[in-house]
Point group: D2
Chain length 224, copies 4
């Protein structure tokens, strides 16, 4: 069994918890409150923005054969930001200028720290796990969401064939990297996979609960 299959099997309880998160179920069923979805959009916009330096920082560490696909993936992220802006406009949400929530801030730091400090194989694991998580999550949403929903373009973006091909490519490459990794490196790839899934769950949880910074009353939540 390949590295990616092995991890998805091992982490099935967490993966299923992610895919059955109330945020996704309510989005699929069209019952998600508008402000809850808007809040997720604002936070995910920050996350997608941070994914650009994450991918860019991987290029110098990776094999030359990965440079062109990684550059194209950065291009796709730039288009994804446009999609957020366009959707926010369409439904009257102000998407710019939001402060990151605790979980968004933490997940972004994890991306950036991993890109700089971890091995390429470990950082590539985080990239795959996060992209695969979004692909699976929005395929789940697709199974129920009305095409007339203002959120349908997100389904088209992450559950569509282009993104599917990208995730499949990442899986092939990650399996190759894992096949060549020594035991220490492989162990850290396994940990990075799980940590990413944990952050994905935390992200949906944050979007649903409107969580603040721990130990700080809501009146002091906004960074000044």
């Amino acid at each position: 069994m390949s590295f990616c299959e092995t991890q998805r099997t091992r982490l099935a309880p967490l993966w299923d918890r992610m895919l059955s998160h109330p945020f996704l179920l309510q989005t699929r069923d069209g019952t998600i409150p508008h402000e809850t979805f808007a809040s997720w959009m604002r936070q995910d916009y920050l996350f997608v923005e941070a994914a650009i330096p994450f991918l860019a920082a991987l290029i110098p560490k990776g094999p030359a054969s990965h440079w062109e696909p990684m550059t194209q993936a950065i291009g796709a992220l730039i288009r994804e930001l446009r999609l957020f802006e366009e959707r926010a406009d369409a439904v009257g949400v102000e998407i710019r200028g939001t402060q990151p929530s605790f979980t968004t801030h933490a997940y972004i730091q994890f991306l950036l720290a991993t890109a700089q400090n971890a091995s390429y194989e470990e950082a590539y694991t985080v990239l795959y796990a996060a992209e695969r998580a979004y692909h699976d999550s929005w395929r789940m949403v697709r199974d129920g969401l009305e095409r007339s929903s203002p959120w349908w373009p997100f389904v088209e973006n992450w559950a569509g064939p282009e993104f599917a091909a990208y995730v499949a490519y990442l899986e092939v490459e990650l399996d190759k990297l894992a096949a060549e990794a020594g035991p220490d490196r492989l162990h850290r790839m396994v940990e990075a996979f799980e940590t990413t899934v944990r952050y994905e769950i935390a992200f949906w949880e944050m979007a649903m609960t409107g969580e603040g910074w721990p130990g700080i009353p809501s009146t002091n939540q906004a960074l000044t």
Copy 2:
């Protein structure tokens, strides 16, 4: 008013909240449950360990005049790890092999990402704010803790004259860096200061509540 004074004044409500956190008050009063303190020791041991690569990564970005003090500060962190190990031994706590909690993981990623991606001035702000927070926190604890307490050596370490001199040195240098920074850079230093205080509060909160990863039931908390 200097940069550091300005920020401590501006952030007084958060700083006071930090200094009056139940974890610190109970530690001062000798009423903190043993397992709660042990849990903090395990998490802070991970944090101090991560502070070593954080400081090391700052050296190549900083002026040559900072290299020797920063190298000495790394030496102090190595001795701090020994202190944790010695205290853990003394009270029969197994300190090694713990998994980071969500907040510890996030705060460590913040350190590492900042060291690599932020300007030197911004990263130096995080260093000062975190060290100053510990100095003030343990001076508060000193005001009540019995000298016979097994936790007294932590007071000696962070509230003592050597650490005081180190924090005073950091403040002088940070004020100099701030005086030379342009408005954009200064704005990011201000944000970095506040974010660090928020993480400090979150850290005491985590130590007190034994928080897990958001959205994951306690049976799945341990990373495998």
Copy 3:
């Protein structure tokens, strides 16, 4: 006078020396020996390849408004590699698998070290100076080279309108960065500009003389 103009004026003697280098004059006049040009192609192919991680490493350090143009510039470098491969094929030169000469190795290390350790402003200065040097150098070659020359496509690439627009964009942005830089940072930008011009001259010199590693006889030149 803008930063870029000031530097080009200040460095005019070096810039003129670069533009009147025998390699460029002989290329313009069609008198360059085939093997000399082939040797340059092999070394510059290595350099262009290394420019990809250089640009990618700049993205996390730069403002978000630079991310899309920088990503497009990486795309242009990938197409530039194809141009080298296509030209090498056309004239029967084996372009892959060459070892870097001393100067190529050094210039590549300078790019990579600058991207990681220097400020964004300094690294952007290196990018501009190197791209502008190529634009001016190949415009000089264009003034004499026959359109039927196998090297004409290099003229089209670097002296053409698309590259001209790219260099003009870099100049506008670099002048903005310089206008906001404090005196220390500006001083380092000035140094980085000059160092880049020195490396450009060294590169033509290496291509012309077939230089080896200093102090090592030619029989030991090849890295094993």
Copy 4:
């Protein structure tokens, strides 16, 4: 045969060329012109200074067991700078404010780029090869130099028992890293070893010949 032994055997012709470089022979025999030695001191002072951020940048990439020895090695480099300053004072040489020669600049860029972009194993190879080269070079000098020579303290520093123990420690650790490295990584370690020896030879050559930047007449050599 261990990795280090294998490489020293494989590279024996280059290693011998390094050890029999005229600069070292003349230093050993006390016939080196004062200005030639002073010129080396100025350039090597720049190199030792750059080795501090090189070592610091390795700490975040290496195993925790390497942090304390690496921190001590930085301390040793700081003392080495003091030695240069003290010797320069003693013989009336102005050691500060020198511009790096082409080879010094290139070698420093190689150190910094390797620390940031290469694997830890590769960077550790460069560290070992450079330190071992100095240890062997100055042991060679020790065999002839008078103890009354003003350069004797350099012999004591690099050929002495403390430095010998440090180099022996690095060799044990590097052999362990090599034993665990996969074939690709090992191949790059082999290349890094050879490149370092080449730079060491180039450095003595530069010190002996007073080389300038290629293609630039001596009147323009100084960076402004």
